[in-house]
């Protein structure tokens, strides 16, 4: 909670909008002021995955939504479709652009977040909670080990931002 207050006051001082989620899981703060949650794994194209029993929850990170801007449309696959690690499963539209969203793991889509068709902005306001995109039944548990942990993802974001 102390970290969240610090982030919020710092963000206010710098006139950056602070993001908040409805539940307060532990999180770490990247220097770019996007939140990175503990307990998740991350892909290098800025998707997160939460493995919860037989199903994995997937969405895009706070860093990603912040760089995209206001999300106005989300294209999701149909349940039953197969997804492959690193391959596109859908797209989001923001600022005249469609951006591919890639799956961090392979498997079968078992559910999609239908709320995003009416309220695509949930991806901006709640990227790790209400803005989840798909639920996948993983086909290869070993793929999770190839993803980044929160600390490595934070470093990856900082290096990527510094390169431009």
């Amino acid at each position: 909670m102390a970290l969240r207050i610090w982030a919020s006051s710092t963000a206010n001082a710098l006139k950056i909008s602070a993001k908040s989620t409805s539940v307060s899981p532990a999180f770490s703060l990247s220097r770019c002021f996007s939140s990175v949650l503990e307990g998740l794994k991350y892909g290098k194209s800025h998707e997160w995955v939460k493995h919860d029993g037989p199903v994995a929850l997937i969405g895009i990170t706070d860093h990603a939504q912040d760089h995209l801007g206001e999300v106005v449309f989300v294209e999701l696959p149909e349940p039953g479709k197969s997804v492959a690690q690193g391959e596109s499963f859908g797209a989001v539209e923001s600022v005249k652009a469609t951006s591919d969203v890639n799956s961090p793991i392979s498997g079968e889509v078992v559910e999609v977040n239908t709320k995003l068709s009416e309220t695509p902005g949930l991806i901006n306001t709640s990227p790790y909670e209400d803005g989840w995109m798909i639920k996948v039944k993983p086909s290869n548990a070993a793929e999770l080990e190839t993803l980044l942990n929160p600390k490595d993802y934070t470093k990856f974001c900082e290096e990527e931002d510094a390169a431009h």
């Binding site: 449309f73 690193g86 469609t98 951006s99 431009h164």
Partner: protein, 256 residues
């Protein structure tokens, strides 16, 4: 420093749906950089962005009556109506092609803005405002993007000229940039031909691209045009889809 390589593909009156399919194929299957310039398309065609809803954006009864084709393209952004007086310019690049360019939408549009600024070279007071290209206070082209993990595509339809009657197929969009200030379509856009010659614009665009890339001209007969790509997103809307949209169109339309 050696400039990055880019293929330059000049087309003449390629149908816009075919052009969009070509772009998608090159975006998804090629690892090379491309500049595509299509000097006009054949017939008046409406092109919406990926999330475009005809009942919100079009005078669907008029569109159906006059049999105007409607395409939903794979990129984002708004709705345009294009014809033989539209000049199309597309850039397809690998994400690390342009040094220092972060491949997010606004930075890409700003980069293209610098390129087109040199094309106009002070003529017409060119600027980029809220991600649109303006001459003075009027928009003269619609641009949109598609971004993958490794590449980006930015394409523009420039209004060399336009028919007033064609604009009547488009409604005033619910979401519009602030600088539009509620202006009707005809008060919001301008004709490029009032500022620069058609061949001059194309030649200067190629010259400007050549200052950033080492251009390799390709020709329409080259074999890659025959390549197939299955997962094309850009498509023609069916008559059923347009008729369904017409049912939901409000009785009192907001004309542009």
């Amino acid at each position: 420093m050696r400039l990055p390589l880019m293929n330059l593909f000049k087309l003449n009156r390629m149908p816009i749906l075919r052009q969009l399919h070509l772009e998608e194929m090159l975006m998804r299957t090629s690892s090379e950089n491309w500049c595509i310039i299509n000097d006009g398309t054949i017939n008046p065609t409406i092109v919406m962005g990926i999330s475009g809803k005809p009942q919100e954006l079009l005078e669907t009864e008029s569109v159906l009556r006059d049999e105007i084709p409607v395409i939903r393209r794979m990129s984002g952004g708004g709705t345009v109506i294009v014809d033989q007086d539209t000049i199309f310019v597309t850039f397809i690049c690998n994400k690390d092609t342009i040094p220092g360019l972060k491949p997010d939408p606004q930075r890409i549009i700003q980069w293209t803005g610098h390129l087109y600024e040199t094309v106009f070279n002070g003529i017409g007071n060119f600027s980029v405002c809220e991600n649109d290209y303006l001459l003075g206070e009027r928009k003269f082209g619609g641009n949109a993007l598609s971004i993958t993990s490794k590449r980006w595509l930015q394409h523009t339809s420039f209004l060399w000229d336009y028919k007033k009657s064609n604009m009547s197929y488009l409604k005033l969009p619910q979401k519009a940039p602030n600088y539009r200030q509620g202006r009707s379509h005809l008060d919001f856009i301008c004709r490029m031909k009032d500022y620069i010659s058609r061949s001059g614009f194309i030649d200067e665009t190629i010259r400007a691209a050549g200052s950033h890339f080492q251009l390799t001209p390709l020709h329409q007969k080259d074999g890659f045009l025959n390549q197939q790509y299955e997962h094309l997103r850009s498509r023609l809307l069916t008559i059923d889809e347009l008729e369904e949209a017409a049912v939901y169109t409000p009785a009192v339309a907001t004309r542009v």
